[in-house]
């Protein structure tokens, strides 16, 4: 979370510099920032609600059942799918993944889960399509999904 403060610091300092140099330009910059935010706010809000509803059903126990150590490749596929449809902030996801590992999930399955969790976003697809277009968004997610199996394979091979 330190990085968030670094971001605040950087934004604050640059905003101050900008203000000293050119008041009008700074106004425009803030206006643009607000416009960009308001433009995407409805989708952000919808995502937050949907993610909440989804996570209410995907408890660590449910996830653990799908991706246990003995679940093999089917478990890897399951883990990749679960990671794709969930939206969990990293600082929640990593301790959760560590917990799952302790409770019998396999490294390969967790590798697939963490990878798709971060790279594939089914819930955020509407936002992505808005900026990147349908084809790019679908292809990016599909490729990231496929790539996550490679990540899982290497992690299963390196991590005991």
């Amino acid at each position: 979370m330190v990085f968030t403060y670094v971001f605040y610091g950087a934004a604050g300092i640059l905003l101050g510099l900008s203000l000293v140099k050119d008041r009008k330009k700074t106004r425009t910059a803030l206006l643009k920032a607000w416009k960009a935010f308001e433009n995407i706010l409805p989708q952000f809000l919808a995502i937050l609600f949907l993610a909440g509803i989804l996570l209410a059903f995907l408890t660590p126990e449910t996830i653990s059942r799908i991706i246990g150590r003995k679940s093999g490749w089917l478990g890897v596929v399951g883990a990749a799918l679960v990671g794709s449809v969930t939206l969990i902030p990293g600082f929640l996801a990593f301790p959760m993944a560590a917990l799952l590992l302790k409770n019998g999930a396999g490294a390969m399955q967790i590798g697939a889960f963490v990878s798709t969790l971060m790279m594939v976003g089914v819930i955020t697809l509407p936002v992505e399509i808005k900026y990147l277009g349908r084809k790019t968004a679908y292809l990016r997610n599909l490729m990231a999904f496929g790539f996550s199996f490679l990540v899982a394979l290497v992690i299963g091979w390196v991590v005991p």
Partner: protein, 181 residues
């Protein structure tokens, strides 16, 4: 823009309604969902403001020619490295990266560099890496990082090959149009 505000917020309103229904028919699950939503909402409020302020400043102060020189079509290896670095230095969830991508397009950043930036933002973020390191161990985190860096560059170029020139141009035109919206 004001006229269709209600239409724009129809989707989140429907999602909020679904949460309300869940609270009624299954209170424990509903409460959990509400908790998670509230938590992510707080995260968004905490993480998002500086990203958008920086975005606005970038838009106003950095001239297009500079961005083209450093990350445009002829930027070569420097453009790739910058894309990885800027994406990795980011904070916040991936959905915060898409508005940044739109500004990058307006500033003439090369499409593959844009995709590399998005890939780095999604999965090689430095703060997340540090967190992953402490939670899942060095072997796990470092392996993932080492596979990911060539991976996101590979995905970017493969994706570019699958898109036609006109399709990429259309995206750039659309992001330029978004500025007025």
């Amino acid at each position: 823009m004001k006229k269709n505000r209600l239409v724009r917020y129809l989707f989140p309103l429907a999602a909020a309604l679904a949460l309300g229904v869940l609270l009624l028919i299954d209170p424990p699950a509903g409460r959990k969902a509400a908790q998670v939503t509230l938590f992510s909402f707080k995260e968004m409020l905490l993480v998002i403001p500086p990203i958008f302020v920086l975005l606005g400043l970038l838009d106003v102060w950095v001239p297009r020619e500079k961005m083209v020189r450093f990350m445009g079509d002829k930027s070569g290896l420097l453009g790739i490295l910058l894309a990885v670095f800027i994406g990795s230095a980011a904070a916040g969830p991936l959905y915060g990266a898409f508005p940044v991508a739109a500004v990058f397009m307006r500033k003439g950043v090369k499409f593959t560099n844009l995709l590399i930036f998005l890939g780095a933002w999604s999965t090689t973020k430095i703060p997340m890496f540090l967190f992953e390191l402490s939670a899942l161990g060095t072997g796990f985190a470092v392996t993932r990082l080492l596979v990911n860096i060539p991976g996101i560059i590979g995905i970017a170029y493969a994706l570019r090959l699958l898109l036609r020139e006109e399709e990429v141009n259309a995206l750039y035109a659309r992001s330029a149009a978004m500025e007025e919206g």
